[in-house]
């Protein structure tokens, strides 16, 4: 947990300082002349709170006793499965725009279900196609969402 907390703190510190730097360049209250704080004030104020909380997190983490420190499972069989799924979803969203919803989704469902359930591939294909078609029909025809507005079927 200690390492994780420190990584979180580092990321938040970078983000907070970055926002303060960017927002400092925004117009100030004087530029508007109405007494209204400029668009940078709020993000700067929140970033200061973020940095203060980050400092508290670092302080508490460094003072954490060894027995309070819990191990975070980041490389177990289960988490590796999650990372592979995340990667597959990233690839899916990347190709979604080009191959369209029906093909991309059927393939994604087929791979995931076959991987998890290890069923007969034909049955997996039927289940994958069924899920895709039910979702497609519900959104396309019942909710009028243009799920076919991208991909290879668009002329």
């Amino acid at each position: 947990m200690k390492k994780g907390n420190l990584i979180l703190a580092a990321l938040c510190a970078v983000l907070g300082i970055g926002i303060i730097v960017v927002a400092s360049g925004y117009p100030s209250a004087a530029d508007y002349g109405t007494g209204v704080p400029g668009p940078g004030l709020w993000p700067i104020a929140i970033s200061v709170v973020l940095l203060a909380c980050t400092a508290i997190l670092v302080y508490r983490t460094l003072r954490m006793k060894p027995e309070q420190d819990t191990k975070i499972e980041l490389w177990s069989t289960g988490t590796r499965r999650v990372y592979i799924t995340m990667a597959m979803l990233v690839v899916y969203v990347l190709v979604l725009e080009f191959v369209g919803f029906i093909i991309a989704t059927t393939v994604l469902e087929f791979i995931l279900i076959q991987w998890f359930a290890k069923k007969n591939p034909v049955i997996t294909l039927i289940i994958s196609a069924a899920i895709t078609m039910v979702v497609y029909a519900a959104f396309k025809f019942l909710l009028n969402v243009p799920v076919d507005s991208f991909g290879i079927f668009v002329i």
Binding site: M1, G4, N5, L8, C12, L15, I19, V22, A23, Y26, P27, Y32, T34, G35, V36, P37, G38, P39, W42, P43, I46, V49, L50, C53, T54, I56, L57, R60, I72, E73, L74, G78, R81, V82, T85, M86, L89, V90, Y92, V93, L96, E97, F101, T105, L108, E109, L112, I113, F116, A117, I127, I131, V135, A138, F139, L143, V145, P146, V147, F150
Partner: protein
């Protein structure tokens, strides 16, 4: 009376009933499945409401909400695994009863207690909301800023032991909400030049779907091969006279307490459930039986958690401040319909508001009927294999986030939020504060600057009215109440 007739003529149509019934059924199934929460269910099915009118959409979501909070008790009793965090306290005695061969008795108790808790909360919603809305009509920008600030200060109280982690998450939510065109000066913040996706601001609905549905689905992937078997037999569901007496004594009290917990922004059904359990123990006739399979111990948390549902709706409808994560999503549902939750909703959309009140009563009644009539059927839901359910949830998350603006940018936002939410969960960072930040952050900023604009930059505007002082005191107590209590306790100890 005229209003009631108008409600039935215009809003509570058979179609709305159908959507509500579908929502309750879906909610019970979602709640019953361990790993799927009420928030996830509402976030996942929110896109379904985009094509509906306001009453249909919001009542379907309410049905899911009430159903899921109740549904969690099914797996809590049968598997000792709460379907939702709100049923964690029910699992203690519910499972103990199931072990004694009285699973039906436990489920019947949970159903009736949930119904009573829900009814009490609807009554409070009906009684308190119009009065609170009337009061809120007197609010100006300064009061709304302080109200939003109070809501943000509550983040500390809902963050568990590591308050700083909750506050960090809340700040991240507020900062994400600042991306895009500034509502007061129209200045474009933190957006790449010419990128319309960023300039329009990052919508919080894909973030919610990512944080609550996608990240939970990722968590479920970790132990996707685990399957639990139901061994208990379900008989004697209808409570007997002696159990009925116990339920009627406990559930209304815990329902009322749950309602008031729900009113507090950020406090959800899980807190209502545990407080309900403790209150039930203090007023029970047989407190010694708690932990060994007591009907009173099942009634307490179930009354408490369903009491939260109506309570959480009160600040959402009257002030535009979410009572919990589910009502935060409902704010999104209303916004998509072009409606702004808050006191003006009671003036401009009175019929809709009272339709929601009446609809909530009907949703609870449907939940009770379905609960008693179909409990054996709902237990079958527990047999749905995760290996098929989780991939289907991924697709629903993706298409759901796309559906709002038909934008693939929102799909990326959802996916990133899901991945970030998963890692935040690993670091024990609560994600609910992010949603409070996303909703209350812009409200606080806009009203803060509008108040200063009206006063010509004079900060005295925040100290001028009694309502301002009321909120200032609340903020002070929220921030420093714990410290003062500790200080006084220490002094008392030293004096002794």
């Amino acid at each position: 009376m005229d209003l009631l007739i108008e409600i039935f003529q215009t809003s509570l149509t058979p179609m709305v009933f159908l959507y509500m019934a579908a929502g309750v059924l879906a909610g019970i199934c979602i709640g019953a499945l361990p790993g799927l929460t009420a928030t996830m269910g509402v976030a996942l099915l929110l896109p379904m409401t985009f094509g509906m009118d306001a009453a249909q959409g919001i009542l379907m979501l309410l049905g899911i909400y009430c159903g899921a909070i109740y549904g969690g008790s099914i797996s809590a009793v049968l598997l000792h695994t709460p379907g939702t965090p709100a049923s964690a306290a029910t699992a203690i005695d519910g499972y103990a009863l199931a072990q004694k061969g009285e699973a039906g008795r436990a489920l019947g108790t949970a159903t009736l207690a949930s119904y009573i808790g829900g009814l009490v909360s609807v009554a409070c919603l009906w009684l308190i909301s119009p009065q609170l809305a009337k009061l809120a009509l007197q609010f100006s920008s300064a009061e709304f800023f302080l109200l939003a600030l109070f809501g943000l200060c509550i983040i500390g109280n809902i963050s568990g032991q590591e308050i700083e982690k909750g506050l960090i998450c809340g700040c991240l939510g507020i900062l994400v909400a600042t991306v895009g065109i500034d509502s007061v000066t129209s200045y474009i913040r933190f957006s790449p030049e010419g990128d319309y996706n960023f300039m329009g601001g990052i919508s919080y609905i894909p973030i919610m779907i990512g944080l609550f549905a996608m990240s939970q689905a990722f968590e479920n992937i970790e132990d996707i091969f685990s399957e639990e078997e139901i061994q208990a037999k379900i008989t004697n569901i209808l409570p007997k006279k002696e159990d009925l007496k116990k339920i009627i004594r406990i559930a209304p009290v815990t329902g009322l307490i749950g309602t008031f917990i729900g009113i507090i922004p950020g406090a959800g059904a899980d807190i209502g459930s545990f407080v309900g359990y403790n209150v039930a123990r203090s007023i029970a006739k047989e407190p010694e039986k708690f932990g060994t399979g007591s009907v009173e111990a099942v009634s307490g948390p179930e009354g408490g958690n369903n009491g939260v549902t109506g309570g959480a709706m009160i600040p959402m409808l009257t002030l535009g401040v979410p009572g919990d994560a589910v009502t935060a999503i409902m704010i999104g549902a209303l916004t998509i319909q072009g409606l702004t939750p808050g006191p003006m909703l009671f003036e401009t959309n009175k019929v809709l508001v009272y339709t929601i009140f009446l609809g909530m009563f009907i949703a609870n009644t449907l939940m009770c009927i379905f609960g008693f009539a179909g409990i054996r059927l709902f237990t079958k839901v527990l047999s749905v294999p995760k290996v098929i359910l989780i991939p289907a949830i991924f697709v629903l998350c993706i298409i759901g986030s796309f559906a709002m603006k038909n934008s693939l940018f929102d799909v990326w936002v959802m996916l990133i939020a899901g991945i970030v939410g998963y890692f935040l969960g690993k670091l024990k960072v609560p994600t609910s504060p992010a949603i409070l930040g996303l909703i209350l952050g812009p409200m606080a900023e806009k009203n803060f600057r509008t108040a200063l604009l009206k006063s010509g930059g004079d900060p005295v505007v925040f100290f001028q009215t009694p309502i301002c002082w009321f909120f200032l005191i609340l903020i002070f107590v929220t921030l420093f109440g714990g410290m003062i209590k500790e200080f006084l306790a220490g002094k008392k100890k030293a004096a002794k």
